[in-house]
Symmetry: C2
Subunit: 386 residues, 2 copies
C-alpha cells in the first residue's frame, strides 16, 4: 500500500511572453512554492523538473542549476519530458517517489520558455512532439491534426463551429479573473468565429497561445504536511495512459485512449467516479480538445459535451466547472509547466486562495493533461484535507 | 522495504556514427533487449527513455512513437534528461517504480543521435548541459572545464600527462574486444601524448568521442524474473547525488561530490563496501574523470588513482577492473544511452555473455554515470543471481 502523498505549497509566474531567462522564471516559481509551503530549500530532498525545449534558451540539465541557485546544490534532480503533458507525467513520477517512501519532500517544477523562438519556429519545434515520421514531417503540425479531430467530431456528433467557440468564450471568462493568465480578454462567440482561420474549422481563438511560464509545487508525505500546520491537499488518485503516437493509428479520433485509461486508473485508485469530482482542470490546447476531454473523463456521455457547454454545465457556477483557471486557452500553455500549473490551480482553489475565481464548496478536483494529440496523458485527483 | 528489482535482458546497437534515424536505433536496441529477456512487447508495462538532444533529429516525445512501433501503443512512457548522466538517472526512476510495486516489467531505453550536427555544434549543444550562465556562455565548454580539473588534480597529486594517457590506453585495450565499441583501435602512451591538444593538458585521445547509439534493458520484479527461467541480475544498491552545477561553486575540483554521495547511498543499501565490487563501469568522458571516479567510488585513496592504473590494478585482469567494455573513451558516449549501456555491460558480464572481454569470477559489479562535470550522478550495484 503506497504512502499518502500531499501538496503543501504552490507557486507560479505569470504566463505569457516573459523577458527573463528560463532559469530566472524557474526560480521565481520555485521560491513562490517554497514560501507558500512555509518550508526552506533545505527541506527539499529532490527536484523534479518538467521541460521540453530548454535547449532553445541554451540550458538543459536544469536541476543542478536550479538547486545550486536555491542554495542546495547537494539536492539531486532530473528533467522529465512528455511533450505538452510533461508536467503531469513529472508529477506522477514525483508522486511515485513519495508514495514509495524514497523522499518525504520534493520540489516539482514545470517550466517553459518558447516565445523567443517566434511563432513559426515554435510550431515547427512543437511538431517534433508528434510522430514526426508520419505527422510533423509531412506538414501535419498540431493545428492541422486537431482540425482533423474537430472535423471528425463535428461530423459524428453534429457539433458546430459555435459549439467550439463557446469553449473559448467560457475559458476567457474564467481567465479574466486569473491575475497570472496570459490572455485576459473577454470574447464573444462572434469574435471567435470571425478570428483568422488557423486550420479550418479552428480559428485563432480556438487555439491556445504560445506561452512562457513556470509553476511549482511542494509534494510531500502526509506526516511532513501535517507537521507544517498549514493547509494542504491530498493526492487520492493517479493514472497514466498512452495512445497510438500518430492519429492515423487510432480507430476513432473523437476519443483519446490515453485520457480514458489514465482516468479509469485514477478513479479506481480514489474509489470514486466522475460524479464525485467538484471541478476539473483539463487539457484544452484547442477548443475541440476540451469537448473530447470532458466526455473521455466521464463527466458527460460521448457526443454530449457540446450541449453541456451550451447549457452552462461547465461554467464556474455550473454542475462541473471546467478550467476555472482559464485553461490553456486563456491562462496560457507554457508546455513544460502546464500540468503543474493545473495542480497549482487545484491547490489554490481547495485551500481558499483562488479569490474571485473560486469554485464554491469544492472538495475534490481533477487535473488532466496530455502530450501531443494525446499520445501520452496523466490524470490526478486531489482532495481538500480538514 | 522496497521490492527486489532485477535486470532480465539487455541489448545495444553499435556505438559510433550511425546513419539510421533516432527512432530506428532506439527500436533496434529495444528489440534486442526484449529478445534477450525472452519476453514480448506485451509484457512491458511502461517505457522509460533517456535522451538529451532528440530535438536535433526532430523527434522529442519519443515514448509513444517507440511503443507504437513496438506494437504496444497503450503502454505509457516518458523521457528523462540529466545530461550525460541521463541513462543512470532514468534507470534510477525505473528502479524506483518497480521497487515500489507500480510496475512488474519496464523497458529502460537510452538513446542519442548527435553526430549529424557536426563536432562544433555538438560541443556547443553539450555546453548547454553546463551551468550556461557561468560556464558554457563564457566559452567554458566541457573539454576546458575538465582541463581545469586535470590541472588541479595534477598539481595536487603530482600526476603526469602520462598518467592520464594510461587510462586511455587501458580502455582502448578493452574496447578492441567489444564488437559494439565506437573506437576499436590499439593506442600507446606516445600516441596519446602526440595527439592534437584539445584543451591542455587534454589531448584528443584523452577525450571520449561524440557517438550515436542506443542501449536498452528489461527491468522487472524478482517474481517476473524467476518465472522466466532465464539468467538475470539483481539491483542490490541504488544512489543519486548532486554537486554545485558550476565547478566554480566547489571547494575542491579533484573530487566530485555527487559521485561520493551516490556511492555512499548505494553501498549502504547493498550492505557492502568498495572492496566487495568485482568490476565497475565508470564515467570516463575524459581520462582525468576516470582517475577521480575510481578514488571517489572508494576503490583507491584520493591521489592514488594514477599509481593504481600504472600498476595495472584497473586492467581487465587487475584487482578491480575498470571499464571492461572500453568505457566512454573507447566504447563511445551517446550521452542519453551511456548509463544504460553500462548496465548492458554488467548484464552481459554477469550472465556469461561478455565473450573475450569477460572479467573472471565476477559476481558483484557497479555502474557510475554522471552529468556535465558531475553536477548529477547515479551509482548502481548489481549481483549475479544463482
Amino acid at each position: 500500500m503506497p504512502n499518502k502523498v500531499c501538496v503543501l505549497g504552490a507557486g507560479s509566474t505569470k504566463y505569457g511572453k516573459l523577458n527573463e531567462g528560463i532559469i530566472e522564471i524557474a526560480l521565481k516559481a520555485s521560491i513562490d512554492a517554497i514560501d507558500s509551503a512555509g518550508i526552506t530549500p533545505k527541506d527539499i530532498q529532490a527536484g523534479y523538473i518538467s521541460n521540453v525545449f530548454g535547449v532553445t534558451d541554451r540550458q538543459v540539465h536544469m536541476a543542478p542549476v536550479i538547486m545550486s541557485n536555491l542554495g542546495v546544490p547537494e539536492v539531486p534532480g532530473l528533467t522529465i519530458e512528455s511533450a505538452c503533458g510533461s508536467g503531469s507525467i513529472m508529477f506522477r513520477e514525483a508522486y511515485a517517489n513519495v508514495a514509495a517512501g524514497f523522499y518525504d519532500c520534493i520540489l516539482g517544477l514545470g517550466v517553459e520558455k518558447i516565445t523567443h523562438t517566434g511563432t513559426i519556429q515554435s510550431t515547427t519545434l512543437f511538431s517534433y512532439c508528434s510522430d514526426f515520421f508520419y505527422e510533423g514531417g509531412n506538414g501535419a503540425s498540431f493545428p492541422g491534426l486537431f482540425a482533423s479531430i474537430a472535423r471528425s467530431y463535428m461530423a459524428k456528433y453534429k457539433a458546430s463551429e459555435e459549439d467550439l467557440a463557446r469553449v473559448a468564450v467560457k475559458n476567457h471568462e474564467n481567465g479574466i479573473l486569473n491575475p497570472k493568465a496570459h490572455v485576459r480578454k473577454k470574447i464573444t462567440i462572434d469574435d471567435v468565429l470571425k478570428s483568422p482561420v488557423v486550420a479550418s474549422p479552428l480559428k485563432l481563438y480556438d487555439c491556445c497561445p504560445f506561452s512562457d511560464g513556470a509553476s511549482a509545487i511542494i509534494l510531500c508525505s502526509e506526516d511532513f504536511a501535517k507537521k507544517s500546520g498549514r493547509p494542504f491537499i491530498e493526492v487520492i488518485g493517479s493514472g497514466r495512459g498512452a495512445s497510438p503516437a500518430a492519429v492515423q493509428g487510432r480507430d476513432d479520433i473523437t476519443t483519446i485512449p490515453s485520457t480514458v485509461a489514465a482516468a479509469n486508473q485514477a478513479y479506481k485508485m480514489a474509489g470514486i467516479t466522475a460524479k464525485d469530482i467538484d471541478f476539473a482542470e483539463v487539457h484544452d490546447c484547442f477548443t475541440i480538445a476540451e469537448l473530447i476531454d470532458i466526455e473521455d473523463l466521464g463527466f458527460f456521455k460521448k457526443g454530449a459535451g457540446a450541449n453541456a457547454v451550451r447549457e452552462g454545465a461547465t461554467s464556474r457556477d455550473g454542475e462541473i466547472p471546467i478550467n476555472p483557471s482559464g485553461g490553456l486557452k486563456s491562462k496560457g500553455h507554457p508546455i513544460g509547466a502546464t500540468g503543474i500549473g493545473q495542480v497549482v490551480e487545484v491547490f489554490e482553489q481547495l485551500t481558499g486562495k483562488a479569490e474571485q475565481r473560486t469554485v464554491r464548496d469544492a472538495e475534490v478536483a481533477l487535473t488532466h493533461n496530455f502530450g501531443a494529440t494525446g499520445a501520452s496523458a496523466a490524470v490526478h485527483i486531489f482532495k481538500r484535507v480538514q
